[in-house]
Amino acid sequence: MTDPMEAIKQTYFQECEELLLAMEEGLLALENGEADSEVINAVFRAVHSIKGSGGAFGFEDLVQFAHGFETVLDHLRSGKLDAGGEVVKVLLRAGDMLADHVAAARKGTHLDKETGRDISEALAALSGTDADDSGEAPADFEGLDFAPMVIAVEEAPASAGWRIHFAPHATLYANANEPALLLRELARLGSVKVTADLARLPPLETLEPATGYFAWDIALTGDAPRDAVAEVFEFVLGHCDLTIEMADAPTAEIIPLPVLAPLPDAPVAEKKESAPAADAPKQSIRVDLDKVDRLVNLVGELVITQAMLSQRVAECKIPRASSVGNGLAELEHLLRELQESVMAIRTQPVKSVFQRMPRLVRELAAQTGKQVHLVVEGETTEVDKTVIERLGEPLTHMIRNAVDHGLETPQERLAAGKPEEGTVTLSAEHRGGRIVIEVSDDGRGIDRARVKEKAVERGLISPGTALSDEETDNLIFMPGFSTAKEVSNISGRGVGMDVVRRNIIDLGGRIVIGSTPRQGSRFSLTLPLTLAVLDGMVVAIGAQTFVLPLTHIVESLKPKPSDIHAFGRGRNLLNVRGAYVPLVDTAAILQAGDTSQADQGVVILVESQGTGRLALTVDAILGQRQVVIKGFEDNYRHIEGIAAATILGDGRVALILDVDGIVTRCRAQLGDFNELRPTGS
């Protein structure tokens, strides 16, 4: 960062991002008819700021566009223009365009001249029709109520010079203007002879210190143009009597410049109503994410230490009701609170991702010719920053999918007795310690027959496979279901729904589809609030202790020997109330010591998203607790079937099982197991 301007430019782009978000938010409020004057003001301020600083870096296209945009917003602000539906549409598109301009400026490129022409024209039309002033008065010639000024009619001969009469009003002093400085500046333009006009000076006893009494006649010789002279007085027009005439004869009674009379005290300014804006933004600071992560890590260690301490205390047979026991309980309570607070630092409202979606929907609507209304709910719901960062792509894809595949064309909708405009709803809410994000549409729903047909074509299932509706819907998550050739240019950007699902699973989440033919479909994402702790079931498998993420556990049961059926070479199936689920000898696949006996131990039924269920044998369930996730891939390497590690209360390291990985692997070994499944189970 040797060039300070370069550093400031980076600041500018960061600031632009924030301003664009604020703008988008305001425009959406406008679209929903929730805009009050403060919202419009905030949008105006954002566009104005982007323009104001952008000029300093020579982003002319950006500034020019922002200027037209700002003019319309200004009309809106002053009530010259109503925020009707059409106006808001233009504004929203202009907002997108401005974001594009900023992005282009950031990359050092320019937008194609044709790209934004229609928007610029639409903006011009909006401001043009109602504008009585063009909003573009040059700096020096505003329609101000300045004192009469005699303007020389004939062009000034270069060397003539000027005769200036300058009589400040009290308001000139009130605004902290200083005649001496103006005279000094005049002196730079040529040689000046200043004569003080003391005619207005009253006798001392009636002198009001807060009034201006002095006036000056200035003879300026030299070849200064008239504009240069006028510019000197630019700040004080309206606060003085000023005449600038071409010099004809030298004036008498000359006093030199330094003998200026002392100035009267500045009078009290007239009282004006102040205009404090009501919204006080929340105070915030920027913190390096690494620092927060270190804090999260330390708190994690603290939780582990506390658990170890509790265990040691219990081993010493110190009763819980003792002062030590009470102290520990209090410590545990405080730690949990501390942990939650620290985790909360990493959380952010999902708004930052959700806010990108309206634009996407507008673009998709334009591309597909469909009419789409996006409803966004729960955007203040907070989630871990990492989750938010990785949510953008899956959400984008799901929304594309909803508009492209879900919604019908306006004609089809009308024929189906639906309103022309389709609705896509994006919502977020906290539910049971997790966040649930839903993308739903009121479109045609998933065409199950077509999905099956396609799955057969792609060789994903055998023809004639009996599948429940849910299973059919889930086929769209199969790798290879959508191929580049097949998908339209909107939905297909090299990402299929399988990748969406993979992303969600990587975040420790689940994705569920619900679909009703002709009424629409709904994708629900369930995500952990944080990636740092997890609710787990601690189980003993063989000689070791493992943790199973609670989110994947369907139920635990003690099977009767008669429920276990042999299936092929040493493989077993478990009959769970009529449905057959592969029974996996967990100790064997994890190589965790002695093979446990399914009929003696406990079976935990786990479910993986999309790939189905599996029954895992464990020797015992030891408890259920929140564990701090400690990744080890950075320090070791990836181990199949293991997601991460944690440290238990007794100080032992326990591995956290990767249920999805295990299910996928085991089911792959079992082959096309679906055919054996009774339908409707």
Partner: protein, 122 residues
């Protein structure tokens, strides 16, 4: 001569640019990020030679801020320059009615900024 100048602007870009230009001319800069912060800065500030303020700001805008400055006996004779864009003619007038001494048109070049500062303070 080194001057102490308070800059009030909600845009960090603008604050940084002002600081760069003013520091370059040998002036000391105190920064505030909106009108309210500007008022707070007044209370703790030493003698200010010039105040430079934006108009469009959250919490307390430039007009409100100028009004507060002019009400403050310690600062009511302090010159105030308003940052404005060429399209803000009416706003310039309003700022002057509110008590602004002069203005700087954005985007400014450092030389013009310094000239404006010099025009309002010795």
């Amino acid at each position: 001569m080194s001057k102490t100048i308070l800059t009030v602007d909600d845009s960090k870009t603008m604050r940084d640019m002002l600081k760069l230009a003013l520091n370059g001319a040998g002036h000391r800069v105190i920064q505030a990020d909106d009108g309210m912060a500007g008022v707070e800065a007044l209370a703790g500030a030493p003698r200010l030679d010039v105040i430079i303020t934006d108009i469009n700001m959250p919490r307390l805008d430039g007009f409100g801020f100028i009004d507060q400055v002019r009400k403050d006996p310690r600062h009511r004779a302090t010159p105030i320059l308003v940052l404005t864009t060429e399209s803000d003619a009416a706003k310039k007038q309003r700022a002057r009615e509110a008590g602004a001494t002069g203005w700087i048109v954005k985007p400014f070049d450092p030389a013009r900024l310094i000239a404006a500062v010099n025009r309002v303070s010795s």
